[in-house]
Structures are given as C-alpha cells and as structure tokens.
C-alpha cells in the first residue's frame, strides 16, 4: 500500500477547462445554424478553416516551445479562438484573410504573451481588428440574406468554397453582396431613420428578420452558457443593459438620426460580443463588481464608436480597449475581505 502525500482538498468538482471551452463552442451552434441558413455555407467553411489554422498554429508554437502538444491542444482554447474568428468574419471572407487573422491571433496575441492564460487581449478580437484595419473592403462585404425576396443568388456549397478558395477551380459566382444594417444606418447621411427603414432592402422586414434571428441564436447560446455556469451574468447583462440605456436615451431624444436600441442590440455583433467575446475570462476583469464595470464600459464604447466613430461595428475595438483597462478595474474593485474594513486602501498604502 503506497500512501500518497497530497495536500487538501482531496475532492474536486467536475468542470474542467477543456470542457468549458467545448461547451462554449457548442453554445455557438444555434447562432451558427441560423447564420448558415440565412447566408449560406460561408461561415461554416470559414469556421472549419479558421479552426484548422488555429489548432495548427497552436501545435506549431507549442512544439517550438518544447511543450506537450496534446496536453495543450486538449484545453480546446485554440479551437474556440478559431471558431470565434470564423463566426465574426464575413461569410465570403477569402481564405488568406482568415489565415492572417487566425495565425496572428494565436501566434502574436496569445503565444508571444506567454500562451494560455497570459494574454492581456482577447486573441480572436486582436486577429479580427488586424484584418478589419488592414483590409476594410473585404471586411464589409456581406451577402444578402436568403430571406430577402428575389434573392435567388445564395451560392451553393461549391460556389462558396470557390469564392473563399479561388484556386479550388470551381465555377465562380457573382454573389449579391450588401452592407450590414449598422453599416447602412451609419452611412444614411441626412436621411431620416424612418425613411431608411422603409427604403433600404437590408432593413426591410425580411432581411431584418435574418439579422434578428442570428442575434437571437447567440442569445440562446449565451443563455445556455449562463445555465451551465460557464460564466456569471455580470459582464453580458451589464453590457446589454448599458447599451440599451445609452442607445435608448439618444433614440428618445432624436429618433430620426439615432438608431433604436433594438437596432443596436440585434443589428450587429452585439449578442455575439456580449456572450462569447466579452466573457473571455483571460482578458476580462475578474472581480464580480469589476465585471459589471467592464461589461457596461464595453456596451457604452460600442455605442460611441458605432455612432460617432469610423466603423459601423465596434465590438472588437471596445473589447480590446477594455482589455487594457481590466487590470486597473480589478485593482479598484477588490472585494472587501472578511473581517477587513476597507477593501483596497491597504493595498494602496502597501505599494
């Protein structure tokens, strides 16, 4: 009988990091399914390609760093990064765009900072922001949703594959692309909001249905993650509430020039961002109170950049900006330790 010298506690709960990551991947499925339904095979192919790139880059870097490749691959964090990039990119994003975003995310944003758990920024969003700045044209061409009347040009699987990987050599397709609702709204110029809703095809009820449904899909996935206690409610709820409030205020003041809260909540990547991006634990604030501030600040930043900035959507920039602020937020939101009077005064005087 060999007795073991192991420190307590001797029991441990079931949820492990790998399971957590896989659960998050699983939770993207409703959104992904709807995305595929409305916009064709593009995102599915993107996700497969991005995941392959992410996992290969991860394996490459880990083997260069002389670590056990399988041990790190089975935490599935690289897979998740790939899936999130694949979901965020436009459905017909060319293969090299995905390759650049994903490899940059894994190699630069993750491993150059020390790998899993050490990266101050959300890798998927670093990759996304890079290609958004570098290749703005490719990043804004979205397909028209299938639900739009008269749109019979949703490309087939092979056509999509050819569009993404031109060297496959299939039949090229001239797909019907159009701007996203937020993009359209941003460039409405002097037009009144009501006119815009009436005239623009992307804001027509049938097209709007597509965008709404996809957001609802992500919301559903997020609810599942909350139910599975993968993260606490603080960040996403703070984000959504802050965004609703700030967009609501401006919309009530001037509904003609400002988008409605509904447009902001459902018209872009808000739901994906709230439940799948901002909740990335590594780069976000960790204290409970801190997560409230963190989420709310992202919500407000997203609105500000969307409304007055140069970009139609802003999840990536808002999240990255708040990643900067996360350690600072954590520092000032330390909980009051049992039996102590003031939370961070001691720390401050001690430093």
């Amino acid at each position: 009988m060999a007795l073991l010298k192991i420190t307590s506690p001797h029991m441990s709960s079931a949820g492990k990091t790998g399971d957590v990551m896989l659960t998050v991947v699983l939770a993207t499925l409703p959104g992904l399914a709807l995305l595929t339904w409305f916009f064709g095979w593009g995102n599915l192919i993107n996700i497969a390609w991005a995941s392959l790139v992410a996992v290969s880059c991860e394996a490459l870097v880990i083997s260069i760093r002389q670590r056990s490749v399988m041990f790190y691959l089975t935490d599935y964090s690289a897979l998740l990064t790939g899936v999130l990039i694949g979901l965020s990119l436009p459905s017909l994003a060319p293969w090299w765009l995905t390759l650049i975003a994903t490899s940059f995310a894994i190699i630069f944003a993750k491993h150059l900072y020390g790998g899993m758990g050490q990266n101050p920024f959300n890798p998927a969003m670093v990759g996304y922001a890079l290609v958004l700045i570098a290749f703005p044209v490719e990043m804004t061409s979205w397909l028209a949703p299938k639900s739009l009347p008269g749109n019979d040009q949703i490309p087939s699987f092979l056509q999509t594959l050819t569009a993404i990987f031109p060297f496959v050599g299939g039949e090229a397709v001239d797909a019907f692309t159009m701007a996203t609702p937020l993009d359209t709204f941003k460039h409405k110029g002097e037009q009144l909001a009501a006119q815009l809703w009436a005239s623009e095809p992307v804001l027509s009820p049938s097209s709007w249905l597509a965008w709404q449904s996809i957001s609802a899909g992500y919301l559903l996935g997020g609810a599942y993650l909350l139910y599975k206690k993968v993260f606490t409610w603080h960040t996403p709820v703070a984000l959504l509430v802050a965004m609703t409030i700030i967009s609501g205020i401006f919309w009530l003041i001037d509904p003609d020039s400002y988008g409605s809260p509904l447009l902001h909540l459902l018209g872009g990547a808000t739901m994906l961002g709230a439940f799948f991006i901002a909740t990335d634990p590594v780069s976000s604030a960790t204290s409970v109170k801190g997560r409230l501030y963190y989420g709310a600040a992202i919500g407000i930043l997203v609105y500000i950049i969307r409304t007055w900035g140069n970009y139609p959507d802003a999840i990536a920039f808002a999240v990255l900006l708040m990643n900067f602020a996360a350690p600072f937020i954590d520092y000032y939101t330390q909980p009051r330790t049992y039996g102590h009077q003031i939370s961070h005064q001691k720390t401050r005087s001690g430093q």
Partner: protein, 546 residues
C-alpha cells in the same frame, strides 16, 4: 422557524457522502495492542511528560502536564505500562516524527479514583475552568485549541453570545452527527456548564439542515433539561464551509470577526459539540478527555462507521476493525476530504483533534490531474468564503511576491479548499497558499533571528572595545605609578650621589618600557582587528581576558 439568517460569501456544495457512516450506531472497538500519545496534539506548547518508561499507569491518570498557559494536560486512556517515550510518526501533514508516550494496555482498564461535581450550578466558574484545564480538553472540532483558554476570555470583553458549532459541513464526516444522535443530553448539559462559566446572554446551536435525526434528538434533549436559560437551535442551510468558525458566526449573527482578532473581540465564543460533551464528562463524571468519536469511512472500508476511540489508538488497528480492503486503499486522509491531510503512515494514532479517517479508493478520490494554466475564470473568487481574490493570490504566491500576497490578505485565507475544488484548471491553489504562508512565516522568523544576531554581534564588538579600553587605562595607571616610584628613587639616589646606580636604573627602566610597549601594541592591534586569523594566532593572549 422565522429566525433571520445571514449568508457568507461564496461556498460550495460538494457531494456529502455522509450516509455511509451513519448506518450503524457508534461502536467501541476492542482495546488496542498499544497506545501512542504525542506530547503535541493541540495548538500551543507541547505538554510536559510526567512518566518514565516502565511506569505503571491507571486509566485517567495524568501522564503529561500543560507547559505554560496555552498547553494541554494528557491522561492515560487505559491502564497499563509506559513502555517508551520516544520519537514516533505523528498525525501531521509532514509525516514527521515527534515525541510520544507509548503505553501498553494491561487489559484491566482500571480507573484512577475520580469523582465529578453533581451540581455544577453551585460551583465557581474558576473551579470549573480549573477542572476543564486539568482534564486536558482541547477543541475537538479540528483546531485543538485548549478549551480552558478559550472559555476564559480577557476581562475587557463581555461574552454576549455562546455559539455551539454542530454544523459539521465537511463531506464524509459524521462524528458530531452521531454524537448528537446518541448523546444529545450530554451535549446539552455540557453546553449548560459552558454557559454557566461564560454567562452569555444567548446560546445558539448552529446545525446544518441535512442532519434531521440529530436535530430531533437535540430538540428532545433541550426540552427535557431543566435550565435557567433557553438554548436556541438554529437550523442553517447546508453549504461548505459554514462550519468554519468565522463563517458560522457570520451566518448566525451577521457579524464578522475583525481581521487579526478572535471571536471574543465581538463578544462571541464558539465551541464544538464534541467539546461540550467532553466538558460534561469532565465536570459531572470527573473523567478526563481520553476518548472521542471518530468517523471511519471511505470505500476502502468494508464497514464504515463511527467509533468511540481511545486517544492514541493506532489508525491501522482501527482500520482493521472496520474491515479494511488493503489492496483497494489509495489515499488515507485524517480529517475530511476538503481540509484533512493525507497520512504517510497508517501507524499514527488517533489524537484529540481527529474527527475522521477517510480510507478512499482511487475511483472514489482520483489523483489530481496535471495543473493547467489559470484562465482567470474567477470561479475561485465566487466561492471564496473570505472574499479573497484567489487567482491574484495564486500569481503572487507562485512568483514568490510575498509582499503583494500579504497585501491581498493571503493571511486571511482559511485554507478551506473551495477555490481548488472549483478550479477548472486543476491548480492546487491551497498548496500554493500554504507554501507561501510557510515561507512568509519562515522569512519573518529569519529576520527576527538575524536582527538578534546583529545585536549580539554589535554587543560583542562593544564589549571587546570596552575591555581593550579598560586594559589601556590600567596600563597607563601602572606606568604612572612606576614613573612616580622611580622618580622618588632617583631623588634618593641623587642624594646619595651614586652615579653608577642611576645609569643602571635608567637602563633597566628603558628596557622594561620597551618590552611592555611591544606587548601593548601587539594586543591593542589584536583587539581592534576582529579578523579571525589574527584572533586565533593570539588566542593565548586573549584568554586571560575572557
């Protein structure tokens, strides 16, 4: 029950695993072949051994006395012969040995004469405290703090609330539960004795809602016992670690024990139910603490149950009694699965603080998987009952940045293990904290030691300088005296006009002066120079001065 309860931050709900060991009543195992009694079973100074090898002792005879105020008396658990006082493995996470009294029972189990106090209400509290101290009672909940010290708070505080801890929140452990089911009346009377000593305004028993049978028997016991003061039985929700002293105080009163303080600072004294029963036996029956109820459980045991164990009984004999499946045994834990420690030897004894022995199989408690990277998920923070930031403590402890760890209140960690339990990356957080705490303690100790050494070194230098100066003074005085004497002689010789004698005297004087100067300068150089080599060379020179 509409009583207001408070909640503490965090907490977890691990599988309870309590049913296995409550199927049978408490059993008294046969007398062991030998008893191993460590002189240190408690917090405080080691006890002072009073017996010699070969000495016959009777059951309940005092064999070790408290050495100082915070120390404990120890008694022979049965009659027999002291066969040795030696170093033996003790129940300690280190697996180290410590001094133990080893007794071979003679099988007669013969008591020393003893008698209790029939009516404690007429006894002075001081007298009762004295008996508790002489009976060697320490907190039986796990920490092992001498009870007489805890029941004797400083004059400056008034104890308003007596809290009896019947929570037993750790999985697997049922010792208190079974004790309450079977000996509720002893527990209640013990509580009343403690109340007589402390005179609190209210008495509250905190118990988790998963112990319905124990609650029932406590209720009956409270109802049957005549008393001047009502005892409030408070059923609290099951959540680990609500049995932690600080957490229980928070749940029952909403108050927090101030940082660095003790419950008495806010007018509260906490006692475990087992301790209350031991107090009852000591006062009413005059029996010192020589046995306790210990849970033997885990899947490696054929018959998991609670035993009434003589303190000092080796664990292996008791495991045998509970039908141990030796090949299945993978981990042997003293205490519960959350805060207990793994035993490195099964020959260690059950001591006063041993509430549970968990003999687990590998399937039951598997080895921890390798540590992964922290993803800052914050789960540890949401479960921490002390509202700490475990992941920050982890970074600081790991990088040995102990100042920062202290600033993040590492020393407030109660090592309950909730953070490690929930960590998805299998990081042994508690071990990091334990190591860091140990290092901090060690560094502090070394610092005080080095300060002390510096002081001694400086004192020594000063002393050597003073000695050198004193010698110098003496020499000067001697020289002056000699000069005076010779001057007087000179005068005398001048008067006689003997020229030759004068010359002779002068010559002699200079010679003497020369040799003296030579030795003087040599020794003064030695004293100013504390370098070792020089010192050893002139060791003989210094010896006369030491």
């Amino acid at each position: 029950m509409n009583r207001k309860l408070w909640d503490f931050h965090g907490g977890i709900h691990p599988p309870e695993n309590k049913a296995q060991s409550t199927r049978e009543p408490i059993v008294r195992p046969p007398l062991p072949s030998r008893l191993v009694l460590p002189l240190q079973q408690h917090i405080g100074q080691s006890s002072q051994c009073l017996v010699k090898a070969g000495q016959k002792v009777l059951k309940g005879q005092l064999i070790a006395a408290p050495d100082g105020y915070v120390s404990l008396a120890m008694h022979a658990p049965t009659s027999g012969t002291v066969i040795d006082i030696t170093s033996a493995p003790v129940p300690h996470p280190s697996g180290l040995t410590d001094r133990c009294i080893i007794i071979e029972p003679d099988g007669l189990d013969k008591w020393v004469p003893h008698s209790g106090i029939s009516d404690y209400t007429r006894a002075e509290p001081e007298r009762l405290l004295q008996i508790i101290r002489e009976s060697g009672i320490a907190g039986l909940g796990g920490a092992g703090f001498p009870t007489s010290v805890k029941l004797n708070p400083s004059e400056e505080v008034t104890i308003r609330t007596l809290i009896i801890n019947a929570v037993e929140c750790e999985p697997y452990i049922t010792a208190d539960d079974m004790l309450m089911r079977e000996h509720a009346s002893e527990v209640i009377q013990g509580i009343m004795i403690i109340a007589h000593i402390l005179k609190p305004e209210s008495i509250q028993i905190g118990i988790e809602d998963n112990k319905s049978e124990a609650i029932e028997s406590l209720k009956n016991a409270i109802a049957t016992h005549d008393r001047e003061q009502s005892i409030e039985l408070v059923v609290i929700p099951t959540k680990y670690p609500s049995g932690g002293e600080k957490q229980l105080i928070q749940v029952l009163t909403g108050c927090e024990v101030p940082n660095g303080g003790i419950p008495a600072d806010i007018g509260i004294v906490c006692q475990n139910v087992g301790t209350a029963a031991a107090v009852y036996r000591a006062i009413i029956k005059g029996e010192p603490l020589i046995y306790r109820v210990t849970t033997f459980t885990g899947e490696a045991l054929g018959q998991p149950r609670n035993l009434e164990v003589l303190i000092g009984t080796p664990v292996n004999e008791l495991l045998e009694f509970c039908d141990l499946n030796d090949s299945e045994l993978n981990r042997l834990i003293m205490g519960g699965p959350m805060m207990g420690f793994s035993l490195l030897s099964d020959s260690v004894p059950v001591i006063k603080t041993t509430n549970c022995i968990l003999a687990s199989t590998e399937a039951e408690i598997p080895l921890p998987p390798p540590e992964q990277a922290c993803i800052r998920c914050g789960m540890c923070e949401t479960v921490c009952p002390a509202s700490l930031l475990p992941q920050q403590l982890y970074w600081h402890a790991k990088s040995k940045d102990y100042d920062k760890a202290i600033n993040h209140n590492l020393l407030d960690c109660i090592e309950c293990g909730a953070c490690t339990y929930v960590c998805p990356s299998n990081i042994p957080l508690v071990q990091y904290y334990r190591h860091a705490k140990g290092e901090i303690r060690m560094l502090e100790h070394e610092h005080t030691r080095s300060d002390h050494s510096r002081q001694r070194f400086e004192m020594r230098i000063k002393r050597l300088e003073q000695e050198a100066a004193a010698r110098e003074e003496k020499k000067k005085a001697r020289q002056q005296a000699a000069a005076k004497a010779s001057a007087a002689r000179n005068k005398a010789s001048n008067n006689q006009g003997a020229k030759a004698a004068v010359i002779q005297a002068a010559l002699e004087r200079t010679r003497a002066k020369k040799t003296r100067l030579a030795t003087d300068s040599k020794s003064s150089v030695n004293r100013a120079e504390p370098e070792p080599e020089t010192k050893t060379v002139t060791g003989s020179d210094n010896r006369e001065n030491t």
